[in-house]
């Protein structure tokens, strides 16, 4: 008999890949210094929805640009390569994150709402703390719960024993997942992102967002995302599934980032204050 962990990992193979144009655009963007700009414009133009979204982003209220831009070329220059990456990811993985997640009892759109909250929270937190965070911070925040889609939707695991263990013994939900399934949503999510060709920096954030102290690389982004996830849960953005508030925030992250009550509350206010604008921006 194969155990649940192996069974879940095996299921990853049957999950659809992200659209081919998207992975081609990733590859182009990854070349960075030798980026073929003309080729990038041509690739994006192939995808009308993506083009619309990039224009919308470039003119979005969230980033507060003054002048309206109508050409794709200008839009790409205005928003910069890192942001294009955000939009490509939002456009390709957004629809996956918007579905309902049966195993976590999340209605359609709720996981996406939470994800957008985390992405905004991480970005706003970096801004308030004056941390010069890498450009993929927003995207890393947006993707943190993709593993819940795998466990709660694609694999459709029986959540009952996990919920029981977590709530009766008051242990964090991700710990309960590991005990019952031999794997948690962060690990399975990281595996899926890796399979989709998402850059390692982002995969690492997904992998360690509930155990940031165990991550051995530069902790800046994982710390910001962990704190933003906590604050989004506190705010109730995206509602609560079966896992509820059953997670343990790391006090080390608070210390490392220098979080204070005022900072935390400011970020919560920013999340709720900006969420509509960002939805609008990310909706094709």
């Amino acid at each position: 008999m194969i155990n649940k962990r192996d069974e879940i990992i095996k299921k990853l193979d049957s999950i659809q890949s992200i659209p081919a144009t998207v992975s081609k655009i990733y590859k182009l963007l990854k070349q960075r210094d030798e980026l073929d700009f003309k080729e990038l414009v041509r690739m994006i133009e192939y995808d009308p929805a993506l083009t619309t979204n990039i224009l919308k982003y470039a003119n979005s209220a969230y980033y507060g640009f003054k002048y309206k831009i109508t050409s794709l070329h200008q839009a790409l220059i205005r928003i910069g390569m890192d942001k294009i990456f955000d939009i490509v990811i939002a456009a390709s993985i957004g629809p996956v994150l918007k579905q309902s997640v049966k195993g976590y009892d999340l209605p359609r759109g709720k996981l996406w709402e939470h994800s957008v909250g985390v992405a905004i929270g991480a970005e706003q937190l970096a801004k308030i703390l004056k941390i010069n965070a890498p450009g993929y911070l927003f995207t890393a925040g947006l993707l943190i719960d993709i593993g819940k889609i795998v466990l709660g939707s694609f694999v459709d695991v029986n959540a009952q024993p996990i919920v029981k263990l977590a709530f009766e013994k008051h242990i964090p939900f991700d710990v309960a997942e590991r005990r019952v399934l031999g794997i948690d949503h962060t690990e399975v999510g990281a595996m899926l992102l890796k399979k989709w060709g998402i850059p390692d920096e982002i995969v690492e954030v997904e992998r360690w967002h509930h155990q940031p102290d165990r991550f051995e690389g530069d902790k800046t982004v994982v710390d910001l995302v962990h704190a933003a996830d906590t604050l989004t849960m506190i705010a109730g953005v995206g509602g609560y599934g079966t896992d509820g508030l059953n997670y343990r925030p790391s006090s080390e992250v608070s210390t490392r980032l220098g979080l204070t009550r005022t900072i935390n509350e400011k970020v919560i206010a920013e999340i709720i204050g900006n969420i509509e604008k960002v939805y609008e921006m990310l909706t094709i």
Binding site: G236, G244, N246, Y247, P249, N264, G273
Partner: protein
């Protein structure tokens, strides 16, 4: 009619057919005010305790914060004809994560500020279900002022 109160929102009613409801109270706090004699009721869903953290946002949406939100809610109740001596308050929410060191104590502070403002206004708190790590849904039934809290499919009267 069912009237949904979003995050940082308040609804008021004097129609006995209405049910006011708010979902997903985590660390946020939900407060119901009800005047049984005038049959006026309201429900608020506040996210943060004090508006001084972001005055600009408090001006745009006073219901985001307990201090500005609850004060405005009381005013709306009086404007509709509710009497201070009749109003009963019930509250729910203020949960937290598994946060032993209490680093993120927004929930607790929300409850403290609610109690302080109600006490200052001489309003009686008749029921509450606060704290812990659970999320809650609150309903105010306008036909009789019944207030319930729901968690994991179980609905209890406050």
């Amino acid at each position: 009619m069912i009237k949904t109160v979003d995050i940082s929102d308040m609804k008021i009613s004097d129609n006995e057919n209405d049910i006011l409801v708010t979902y997903s109270l985590g660390s946020c706090v939900g407060v119901t005010l009800y005047d049984p004699e005038e049959n006026i009721g309201s429900l608020i869903h506040c996210m943060l305790p004090l508006s001084k953290v972001d005055r600009d946002k408090a001006r745009k949406n006073p219901y985001m914060f307990v201090d500005t939100g609850l004060t405005k809610m009381l005013q709306e109740m009086y404007d509709r004809g509710a009497k201070r001596k009749n109003i009963v308050a019930k509250l729910a929410g203020g949960a937290k994560l598994l946060d032993k060191k209490n680093i993120f104590n927004v929930g607790e502070r929300n409850i403290v500020v609610v109690r302080k403002i109600l006490w200052k206004n001489d309003i009686l708190i008749k029921g509450m279900d606060v704290g812990g790590s659970k999320s809650r849904t609150v309903r105010l039934y306008m036909e009789n002022g019944k207030t319930t809290v729901r968690n994991k499919g179980e609905e209890n009267e406050l």
